[in-house]
């Protein structure tokens, strides 16, 4: 027979006002296995905890039930209390009589009856609790950062500075990401490249950082402290060790392709570095567009290369590496424009995205930053900016606010006026949101000093008329239809996660929301951690944000990773699945439903009627298992059983709760 102690918390009046504590104590004393039932005004207080500890010792309790607030609140507290009294912390169960009872029911009788039922259920479960011991495992002290934008660079630098090796994986030929494409940054108008490139160089030069550009993560296995990642380093077709970065190859290359870096507004060669400040400054051959690879002709680059670095035979390399922590910083894409036909994007070269505007206004961009109309290379006079293209649009786009558009559009209005003082900016907006340090001031400057005209309303249609663009909109403040003859229309498109973010989330085993932004473990208290231990989030892959926020978050993610790598060993949560090998049939249905690849098969040899028989059984990797229990429900004979939420326990709970 068990010796179970039941401790009922008043929580001041929070519980006691609705639940009749005296009745509950009386009932609890009658429950099977219960040898003690007592109460306290505040069980979580010093005196409450002392009472628990004292009673465990005096009454020789072997199980403890606390009737109090939610286990999500104080389960850990009371587990520690029990442990302090020498009881295994996993022999404690919580009956949630506050959030699930006293706070939501007004009728005292009904609430008391329910409280008794909840305690009876917890007692039934506790009776079947087993003491669990966490397992210790060694941490691989190396970090992986996925994504070489400002978030990834910052996180890599911070981790490297703390003394741990970091692999920084970037799928394009150069690190730098979105920030490298930008011209100036709001609200200070300092040059994006000027503040970013030193960091890029730092990252490349850091002895603890290993850059893996033109590379992609292909497979992730393992668990916190021991991830096993396969990275595909795509063939650059240029030997990085030999290349001097002289640039002769792309000077001579005859194949021209639209530049991704310039958002398709300029051309690059088939062998190229995406932008002059690229790190590493080593070209790659875009094999899809290279004449050698498509027609086995040309080979000019190879001929002209003074260092003989061009290597057509190079092939992809698969790198397998173990990591203790992973920072995910994959950044954003812009929403596709197919669904916004009214803006005419793609139908006229002078209808552009804000990102394209960034390139046009950038001194290193197409046209040398003169900001000319793409259609005729003439300076624009009237420029219309449209906010919230795809953002805050439940029906066709995304319901969320992309957060940075208000500010960068104000910046664009300012930059326009600086380049072309005679030009006029018109900004269509829903609301102007300027929450941030110096943001409102910056916006006011755009309006007051740079005379940007802000029109509150939506744009109904943009269509070409001669060499102009007619913009039809509504000014809801004056309640008048507005028609503007524009030279350039700039669309502030919604930020979305990378198009393939969902696949990465699956590979990593992290959650993503309805829009495929990765989900943080807690929106307030764990904003840079994912639900999966050891995986941290930084930058716009988690949601729209600006550069300072991204950098701050990257630093925070790095700090979390450092804290993890700083440990030699980790303790695993012992609430994991366990296999009863005598019951296991080896069908491995469990393996199929496990989201963490924590289950494998293992051969077992046993004696059957005097003969050796070999059979397969399932095996759980305790460090990989996160304790979801999907396997336990999928296992027909009940061989797979989740410790802490075992079949026996849940059955006992069901029986008890139905009394």
């Amino acid at each position: 027979m068990r010796r179970i102690g039941v401790f009922i918390c008043w929580c001041g009046t929070n519980i006691a006002a609705t639940v009749d504590i005296e009745t509950v104590i009386k009932e609890a004393r009658e429950m099977p296995g219960v040898v003690y039932a007592g109460d306290n005004k505040y069980m979580c207080s010093e005196t409450g905890q002392t009472q628990i500890k004292g009673t465990i010792v005096q009454q020789k309790l072997d199980r403890v039930v606390i009737a109090s607030c939610s286990p999500r609140m104080h389960e850990l507290t009371f587990r520690k209390t029990a442990a302090a009294a020498g009881l295994n912390p996993y022999l404690v169960e919580i009956a949630n009589v506050r959030e699930h009872c006293s706070w939501v029911h007004k009728d005292k009788d009904a609430a008391t009856v329910k409280a008794v039922a909840l305690i009876r259920t917890a007692v039934a479960k506790a009776a079947l609790d087993t003491g669990l011991e966490p397992q210790e495992f060694v941490v691989t002290r190396r970090a992986l950062v996925i994504g070489g934008g400002i978030a990834g660079i910052q996180a890599a630098l911070d981790i490297a500075e703390a003394g741990y090796a970091v692999d920084l994986v970037e799928r394009t030929p150069s690190i730098g990401g979105r920030m490298a494409q930008l011209d100036k940054t709001f609200p200070t108008l300092d040059c994006s490249a000027c503040i970013l490139t030193p960091k890029m160089v730092d990252a490349a030069a850091h002895p603890n950082i290993n850059l893996l550009t033109y590379s992609e993560v292909e497979e992730v296995e393992g668990y916190v402290g021991n991830f096993e990642v396969t990275i595909r380093q795509k063939a650059r077709s240029v030997d990085a060790a030999k290349c001097t970065g002289c640039g002769l190859c792309f000077e001579k290359c005859p194949s021209k392709v639209k530049s991704e870096f310039d958002e398709g507004l300029a051309l690059r060669k088939a062998i190229y570095v995406p932008f002059p400040q690229a790190v590493p400054n080593i070209p790659v051959i875009d094999r899809d567009h290279c004449r050698w690879f498509s027609k086995k002709k040309c080979g000019v680059c190879k001929k002209v290369c003074p260092a003989s670095a061009v290597d057509f035979e190079q092939s992809d390399v698969l790198i397998k590496q173990k990591y203790g922590a992973i920072v995910v910083a994959t950044g954003f894409d812009l929403i596709g424009f197919e669904i916004f036909g009214e803006f005419g994007y793609g139908k006229h070269p002078d209808i552009i995205t804000s990102m394209e505007f960034e390139r046009l206004v950038n001194a290193s961009g197409p046209g040398g930053g003169k900001l000319l109309k793409p259609s005729n290379q003439q300076p624009p006079k009237n420029v219309v900016f449209v906010h919230c293209v795809g953002s805050r649009d439940k029906s066709r786009g995304k319901p969320y606010c992309s957060k940075i558009c208000c500010m960068y559009t104000a910046k664009h209005a300012v930059l326009l006026k600086e380049k072309h003082p005679e030009a006029q900016a018109y900004v269509f907006y829903i609301d102007v949101r300027t929450a941030g340090k110096d943001f409102e001031e910056f916006h006011r400057r755009a309006v007051e000093e740079y005379a940007a005209v802000y029109l509150r309303g939506l744009v109904g249609k943009v269509f070409p008329s001669g060499d102009k663009l007619l913009v039809n909109g509504v000014d809801t403040l004056s309640n008048q239809a507005v028609e503007i003859e524009a030279d350039l229309v700039v669309l502030a498109a919604a930020l979305t996660p990378r198009h393939d973010a969902e696949g990465l989330a699956r590979m990593l085993g992290i959650g993503s929301d309805a829009h495929n932004f990765f989900v943080e473990a807690h929106p307030k208290l764990r904003p840079v951690e994912s639900h999966t231990a050891g995986l941290f989030l930084a930058g716009t892959c988690q949601g729209p944000r600006d550069i300072p926020e991204t950098v701050a978050q990257a630093g925070a993610a790095a700090a979390k990773a450092i804290a993890l790598l700083n440990k030699e060993t980790l303790l695993s949560d012992p609430c994991v699945s366990a296999v009863d090998e005598s019951l296991c049939t080896g069908c491995l249905a469990c393996l199929k439903v496990c989201p963490y690849k924590a289950i494998s098969d293992k051969p077992l040899t046993e004696k059957v009627h005097g003969r050796q028989r070999r059979r397969l059984v399932a095996e759980v990797n305790k460090a990989l298992c996160q304790g979801c229990g999907a396997c336990s429900a999928a296992c027909r004979p009940g061989a797979m059983n989740l410790l802490g939420f075992s079949n026996e326990q849940l059955l006992a709970e069901v029986d008890a709760i139905c009394l």
């Binding site: 329910k114 909840l118 959650g511 229990g629 429900a633 989740l642 009394l659």
Partner: protein, 145 residues
């Protein structure tokens, strides 16, 4: 409450299996927000909706539950990545199957309730209690002993 007179003195027992990360937290939030719902609801905490085996649901009905709710994270939001997708298949099938053997489908409900949907938790629980009240006690699966 719009409850038929004949079922007035019937107090249904409804067992709710709530996943720890979303629905149980949603229930906590309903508590924190003092959003009242009927005391007929009794919650069993499970790590994930995928932990809930149909056996537990049947057992609840055997032992006198008049209704059972399984509540988990919204599809795509599962703390364990894919648990609720498995649960979705499992309980889609189970509910249709129970109906096939003559059990009112309304006695088994599955809902996606996030940690931030305290008021929805309360509303869902109120609704199912009302429904079961109208449906009357579960006599079909209940053990006669």
């Amino acid at each position: 409450m719009s409850v038929a007179a004949k079922t007035q003195d019937f107090e249904p027992l409804i067992v709710a299996f709530c996943c720890n990360w979303c629905s149980y937290a949603g229930a906590d939030l309903a508590g924190t927000g003092r959003m009242s719902y009927p005391a007929n609801i009794r919650v069993i905490r499970v790590p994930c909706s995928s932990r809930v085996s149909p056996n537990f649901i049947l057992r609840a009905f055997q032992r006198g539950a008049d209704g059972v709710v399984v509540a988990g994270c919204h599809p795509g939001d599962c703390h364990y990545v894919s648990g609720n997708y498995h649960a979705r298949r499992r309980f889609s099938m189970l509910r249709r199957f129970l109906e096939f053997v003559g059990i009112e489908a309304e006695r088994l409900e599955v809902h996606w309730i996030s940690a931030s949907e305290g008021s929805r938790f309360a509303q869902v629980m109120q609704d199912i209690t009302d429904k079961i009240r109208v449906l009357g006690p579960n006599r079909k699966l209940r053990d006669s002993r």
